[in-house]
């Protein structure tokens, strides 16, 4: 994820506000425990679910059973957004990243994610690494996807309220 442009949206920001640096947001995104993923149902409606996940250099990684609704949605329309936020009026920040979702099957990333999940969520979130997916405690496959952000928005609450859009350069997969 390489940010190529950061400007404040002065329509929705206060006179004292400054753009929120992307580098300030990454630690928040990484430390968050539960994210909100929105994909598009086949009828066009948004479908929002809470989920665990992790950020690597390319985007937001998450796992899901292959039969879950979000996989049906992604297969039909590979676009989605991930959001974290604050429910408080006067403090906190909301972050929304929008982009394309692709399946990840390489074992290096799968092994990295399995390790990251255990470190982040504890022993209850331990997965094995299969040939093209993670394996849960019952040895059932857990498919891994990455949302690669194209645009992002940060919404800082409170007196220095600011709305900052981010554009990301498209990166070639290593």
């Amino acid at each position: 994820m390489k940010v190529i442009d950061t400007r404040i949206d002065s329509r929705y920001s206060g006179p004292l506000s400054v753009p929120t640096p992307w580098d300030d947001l990454l630690p928040l995104l990484t430390a968050t425990e539960i994210y909100t993923l929105t994909t598009i149902l086949p009828d066009g409606m948004p479908h929002t679910v809470p989920l665990t996940g992790a950020f690597d250099d390319l985007g937001f990684l998450f796992g899901t059973g292959p039969n879950e609704q979000k996989v049906v949605n992604i297969t039909n329309d590979p676009r989605g957004s991930v959001q974290i936020g604050s429910a408080l009026f006067a403090e906190g920040v909301d972050i929304v990243l929008r982009g394309r979702i692709e399946r990840v099957t390489d074992r290096i990333t799968l092994a990295w994610l399995a390790e990251t999940f255990v470190t982040k969520y504890g022993e209850g979130w331990r997965f094995g690494v299969g040939s093209d997916s993670l394996l849960n405690a019952d040895d059932l496959p857990c498919w891994v996807f990455r949302l690669v952000p194209e645009v992002g928005h940060a919404f800082v609450h409170g007196e220095r309220g600011a709305q900052t859009p981010y554009e990301f350069a498209s990166e070639v997969q290593p």
Partner: protein, 171 residues
């Protein structure tokens, strides 16, 4: 809006858990200060933004300048979902409500909304009332909308993990 069915999705819930009562979820939703509203961009992509809002037995009320992206989205596709949640792994609850959105412009509803916004967010969040919309402190109109849920979900955590579905009917 009448709750007609409540069910637990056992695939995503711990064994023998009861559905999370709607009354518990409704109270949490009503007390939330900042909601995440998702509408649909003209290209079909989800557009999510934080908004202030109000809950009543009619549904979820919010307001927006008429030129904002979410209004453009709703004029083209009057459906949306609204989410509140917890970013913690072991505590809290996520709530998602989905349904059609309509503009509200009658003075009775606008007056109720104005008073409820001030009661919830303080004097800072005061609007004037125009012919068919709020008037903000710059003198510009702010349109009012109502999302009437047809379906909702709650996601509780930890040893009480349950995914509960709520279905609503409309007269």
């Amino acid at each position: 809006m009448k709750l007609v069915n409540v069910s637990v999705d056992h695939r995503y819930s711990v064994d023998d858990i009861a559905p999370t009562p709607w009354s518990d979820i409704e109270r949490i939703f009503a007390d939330t200060e900042i909601y995440a509203l998702t509408t649909l961009l003209p290209d079909g992509m989800a557009h999510t933004i934080p908004v202030s809002g109000l809950w009543s037995e009619r549904g979820f009320f919010f307001t927006s300048g008429p030129t904002e992206q979410k209004v453009q989205n709703l004029l083209a596709n009057p459906r949306a979902s609204v989410h509140v949640g917890s970013s913690h792994f072991f505590e809290g609850v996520d709530i998602v409500l989905r349904g059609p959105v309509e503009r509200v412009s009658d003075i009775e509803t606008l007056t109720w909304m104005r008073d409820a916004f001030v009661a919830k967010y303080g004097e800072f969040w005061t609007f004037g009332i125009g012919e068919d919309a709020f008037i903000n402190h710059h003198g510009w109109p702010s349109w009012c909308f109502l999302l009437t849920p047809t379906v909702g979900y709650s996601f509780t955590r930890a040893e009480a993990t349950a995914q509960t579905k709520y279905e609503f009917s409309h007269p």
